[in-house]
């Protein structure tokens, strides 16, 4: 009965209201086929101004991170390294990787350090020019993230942001999004192949991963709260179980006596 009422109510909603949308969205708002603003000025690892037009001349894997990230950025880039190690493509010739920091406080120095450490992780010959780490002022990086539909939000000192690879064609067109923080070499290979042909392709596996800030104080609270809740529920369960055993046995006896 109640279910029917509920069902009818639920069914009527679509008639009344459109889809509610948050003002500022964290996540990916796909911009397949859009061309990134190629004249944007960013800083390379030596602090020199460089425009994306100068860099993008082949299929490009774009990742958006910030370098002091304590969340998913490191696992994401580590998995990208794992993928790059096995992908059957030649870096620097078939494709390149560009990592842009969306945190304006990141410096070219920091970027250079990151680059060095990730290049060290790569187990195959990888021309340094095939993986760039760029930084920039807030206005330029915002323009870039907006153009590719990458929504993130500042949270105190950290950022809440999604994890994804964005594949660009040689002329800077967005052709594919690869969501999450783990990737398959074959997937990347296909994506790069399509980017080379300039064909935008809709995405799959849209389970986005998000990066949250870490709050040590709150964390402590979690554990004590859990402990309390856990011990109480265990206690209750035990009491209830004993109770059932006791009353149940008595009932059994009377039943047997009667039948």
């Amino acid at each position: 009965m109640k279910a029917v009422v509920l069902g009818v109510l639920l069914f009527l909603w679509p008639a009344f209201s459109g889809c509610a949308r948050a003002a500022e969205e964290v996540g990916i708002d796909e911009k397949l086929g859009a061309v990134i603003p190629a004249d944007l000025q960013l800083n390379d690892e030596a602090g020199q101004k460089v425009s994306l037009r100068q860099l993008i001349d082949k299929p490009t894997v774009l990742t958006l991170n910030y370098f002091r990230c304590a969340g998913i950025c490191t696992p994401q880039l580590n998995d990208l390294v794992r993928t790059l190690n096995t992908v059957e493509l030649e870096p620097g010739k078939d494709f390149q990787v560009i990592t842009v920091s969306f945190d304006s406080r990141d410096t070219p120095d920091l970027a250079a350090g990151k680059r060095a450490s990730y290049l060290k992780l790569l187990k195959r010959p990888f021309p340094p020019a095939a993986w760039r780490f760029l930084t920039g002022d807030e206005a330029s990086t915002r323009e870039l993230t907006k153009a590719v539909g990458f929504g993130f939000k500042r949270d105190k000192d950290a950022f809440i942001h999604p994890g994804a690879l964005i594949i660009l064609s040689p002329d800077g067109k967005v052709t594919r999004y690869m969501y999450g923080i783990t990737y398959l070499p074959a997937d990347l290979q296909m994506a790069v192949g399509e980017a080379a042909a300039g064909l935008p392709r809709p995405s799959i596996s849209k389970a986005l991963k998000f990066c949250f800030s870490y709050d040590p104080q709150g964390h402590k609270y979690v554990i004590s709260f859990t402990r309390i809740a856990g011990s109480i529920s265990l206690l209750m369960a035990a009491v209830f179980g004993v109770f059932i055993l006791v009353t149940g046995r008595r009932r059994d006896h009377t039943e047997r006596a009667h039948s």
Binding site: M1, R21, V222
Partner: protein, 217 residues
Amino acid sequence: MSSPAAQAHTDLAHAEAHGQAVHRDYAGAKIGMWLFLFTEILLFGGLFILYSAYRAKYPHEFHEASNELNFVIGVINTVVLLTSSLSMALSISAVQKGNRRLSMIFLAATVVLGGVFLVNKYFEWMVKIHHGLYPNGPELLKRKPGEILFFGLYFTMTGLHGLHVIAGMIVLSILLVLLAKGRIGQDDYIKLENGGLYWHLVDVIWIFLLPLFYLAA
């Protein structure tokens, strides 16, 4: 464990197969109702899981947001629902004793108290909505994430509970009619008892909602 005496049950199936109501399997109907209540408990359980996960994550925000709820209304509503539960239980005892008139009075009181609860709830919601504190409301979106979640959960859980109260009132009203017509009486009151079980469960859920939202400050 021994098999239940089958004669009664096969009688039931027999009667059902012919669309007659000869005998009611009293215990069977009750088991069925309890199983249904379990699904309700787990339905709300999903929400309680979410609540506890988010409260653990945003303890301070939940604390502050809870301060904005008027706990007096919450406590008054608790008293109203507890009293309605009492009159529901009394109604069943009355019908068991064969006092149908008294049973009807108690049942009607239960429905009326349910209505009082909803009216209170309505005013409480309206104040919040008036201040822009509703999901996607202008005021709420300016708040911290934890507070947005608190109010999101507040509206979802009290709203779903409110729907259950409405459903319970409808069921109990139907039972009131059946009671008036004599279709429920001293010898066959399982419907009333099952309706009562549902109402009490709605009460229990509110018992949990009170401290989670109104007294979390």
